[in-house]
């Protein structure tokens, strides 16, 4: 806990991270407050179709006269919730797989990592498309597809981290003191592996938001009328001549979000790399088995 606060302090000290965090915080606040804001993403005004940005509609209106900014804000809810859910699925499956593969080694490592290789045998977007082809198009399908696509990176990062800790004295000590495999894995190895996993959470959030938008753009993501950035780009693309800002502005919000998460991930990774001081293993702070 102390170390993650230290990590957070160092990350926030970087200018690039501040800009990213400011954007992401604005987005989260807007997404959370959306229901109490005076905006309605579904209200149609057929007399005001495909209008450009104006004082009444900052981002203009869509083909049904709906306010695009309201839809972008509600789209943020869709994006952020899908990303959070997908990263949770990927982490909940991927981290234990990596932990077990790295901890036990041998045939269990070989079998688990072969399974991960199968997930990696296709580019991510195709894997997600294949999953949607099987379970059909729905909100849950999009979540599941994006989540499963993220499993391999969690498994690999965790496994690499576990391998580097496996033979360290404090792990061997816990085992020698009679710590069970489960105790050693979850209470000793895992608490010392959080930093790279946390970086992965940020990186994968970016990937998840992009993938959800891409699926929606292809017309197989979260079904309408749920506002989604990718869906807005898909529809906006058909009105490039009439209302060029329709596709451009939601895309800009999506791009800024992805760039912010990428930037944050890079800053976190470089802070971790820079940190040369010897760390006191969390296992020894928290008592004995």
């Amino acid at each position: 806990m102390r170390r993650s606060r230290e990590l957070a302090r160092r990350v926030v000290a970087r200018g690039a991270a501040q800009v990213s965090l400011a954007w992401l915080a604005t987005l989260v606040v807007l997404a959370v407050l959306a229901p109490v804001l005076p905006i309605d993403p579904l209200a149609q005004d057929l007399l005001a179709e495909l209008e450009g940005p104006s004082a009444a509609h900052w981002f203009g209106t869509d083909e049904l006269g709906r306010d695009i900014m309201a839809r972008v804000i509600y789209g943020a809810r869709t994006s952020l919730m899908t990303a959070a859910g997908a990263v949770a699925i990927a982490g909940a499956v991927g981290v234990p797989i990596g932990l077990m593969a790295g901890f036990f080694g041998g045939w269990r490592d070989a079998v688990l990592m072969r399974l991960i290789d199968v997930l990696l045998a296709l580019p991510g977007i195709l894997l997600a498309m294949a999953i949607i082809a099987v379970v059909g198009r729905s909100q849950a399908a999009a979540l599941l597809a994006v989540g499963i696509t993220g499993i391999p990176s969690f498994a690999r990062i965790t496994r690499a981290q576990v391998l580097s800790l496996r033979k360290r004295d404090f792990v061997v000590a816990v085992e020698a003191l009679g710590g069970s495999a489960a105790y050693t894995m979850f209470r000793t190895v895992l608490p010392n592996s959080w930093s790279p996993i946390l970086v992965q959470v940020v990186v994968l959030s970016s990937v998840a938001i992009l993938l959800e938008a891409a699926l929606a753009f292809l017309g197989i993501g979260i079904p309408p009328p749920t506002p989604s950035w990718g869906e807005m780009l898909r529809t906006g693309k058909t009105y490039l001549y009439e209302a060029p800002t329709y596709a451009v502005l939601p895309g800009l919000v999506l791009t800024l979000t992805i760039l912010s998460l990428d930037m944050l991930g890079r800053v976190m990774a470089s802070v971790l790399e820079d940190r040369h001081e010897i760390e006191e293993p969390a296992a020894l702070q928290g008592g004995r088995p």
């Binding site: 072969r114 399974l115 290789d117 199968v118 045998a121 296709l122 580019p123 977007i125 195709l126 498309m129 294949a130 949607i132 082809a133 099987v134 379970v135 059909g136 970016s206 992009l210 938008a213 891409a214 753009f217 292809l218 017309g219 197989i220 990718g230 780009l233 906006g236 693309k237 490039l240 001549y241 060029p244 596709a247 451009v248 895309g251 800009l252 999506l254 791009t255 992805i258 760039l259 990428d262 930037m263 890079r266």
Partner: protein, 315 residues
């Protein structure tokens, strides 16, 4: 060498087999299974029983998989439910378009990525280096479908230089028409991979520039141009070949979003159409073909790398 290739293939065989089981099992996982997929929801029990027998669904599962696999290996991927045409010929029509786009995008990526990497590696830490790193981050972060829309707005809607929808024109039929059609999609994908190429090549150039042989070359008075051009570039290019190869493998299936932006008639659009019309034999065929090509290119990249780098032992 041949032994090495065979060993690499043998390592990938389990992955291929497992993935093929997954692709085959797809139709069994959908509600209603293969019968419901063909007959729809309002079929009579007699129709269902007849079709089950016809499709061989009353046979053991392993027999069914084996039949599917041997057919696929013999080039029979079934018939599209929608167009009633053989899946193999539908895929065959689209594959050249995707390959052409993938190659064009790789060329664009190299044309942008290599100069960016060399310029920033020669002056690490300078303002130019930082600006170019910013470019790479931007190239990697901007979603291709948004970049594609921006390019269409600029070059097709505003300037009217290029078409907003790109058809497939084979290079040998009309190079100029082909360029007009492929320029925007190739630029969209090429800018994205240029970010990957630049980052990777910069890192390996910077590492090489610190090597002892570079100090030796410089201290014996070799001009910097020759140090970089003749020694450093050659060594840095080696691992770079791998990345270029992997990206090309990715393009076999990974152009799907760009194809959608430009309504380009490639394999990716075929797959999207297949998914939206629930044309399962076509979905299975597309994914299987993409998977096999993807894995084969990966093996080829490995082999090529071992071949051009004498330090790698493959005996």
């Amino acid at each position: 060498m041949i032994g090495y290739i065979l060993r690499r293939l043998a390592q990938l065989l389990p992955v291929l087999l497992l993935a093929s089981v997954g692709i085959w099992a797809m139709v069994y996982a959908i509600p209603g299974g293969p019968v419901g997929m063909i007959l729809g929801e309002n079929a009579t029990p007699e129709q269902i029983a007849a079709l089950r027998a016809e499709l061989g669904l009353d046979r053991p599962v392993i027999v069914q998989y084996w039949a599917w696999l041997t057919n696929a290996l013999a080039g029979d991927l079934g018939v599209s439910l929608h167009s009633r045409q053989p899946v193999v010929s539908l895929i065959g029509e689209r594959l050249p378009a995707t390959i052409q786009l993938g190659l064009a995008a790789t060329v664009v990526g190299l044309l942008i990525g290599i100069p960016v990497a060399v310029a920033s590696a020669l002056m690490p830490g300078s303002w130019l280096d930082r600006a170019l790193s910013g470019w790479s981050a931007l190239a990697l972060g901007v979603p291709t479908f948004w970049l594609g829309i921006l390019l269409i707005l600029l070059f097709a809607v505003h300037l009217r230089w290029l078409p907003s929808a790109s058809g497939y024109v084979p290079f040998w039929e009309s190079p100029i028409e082909m360029l007009r059609n492929i320029l925007l999609p190739a630029l969209t994908l090429g800018i994205y991979v240029s970010g990957i190429f630049a980052r990777f090549l910069r890192a390996s150039l910077v590492a090489e520039l610190r090597a002892d042989y570079v100090r030796t070359a410089r201290s014996k008075g070799l001009p910097e141009r020759d140090v970089v051009g003749r020694h450093v570039m050659r060594n840095a290019m080696l691992p770079f070949v791998t990345i270029v190869g992997l990206m090309m493998a990715n393009f076999i299936g990974g152009t799907v979003v760009t194809e959608a932006v430009f309504t380009y008639p490639g394999l990716g659009r075929l797959l999207i159409t297949a998914i939206s019309t629930r044309d399962y034999p076509l979905i299975q065929g597309c994914i299987l073909v993409i998977l096999v090509i993807y894995i084969l290119i990966n093996v080829m990249v490995d082999v090529l790398y071992a071949y051009i780098d004498p330090r790698i032992e493959y005996a």
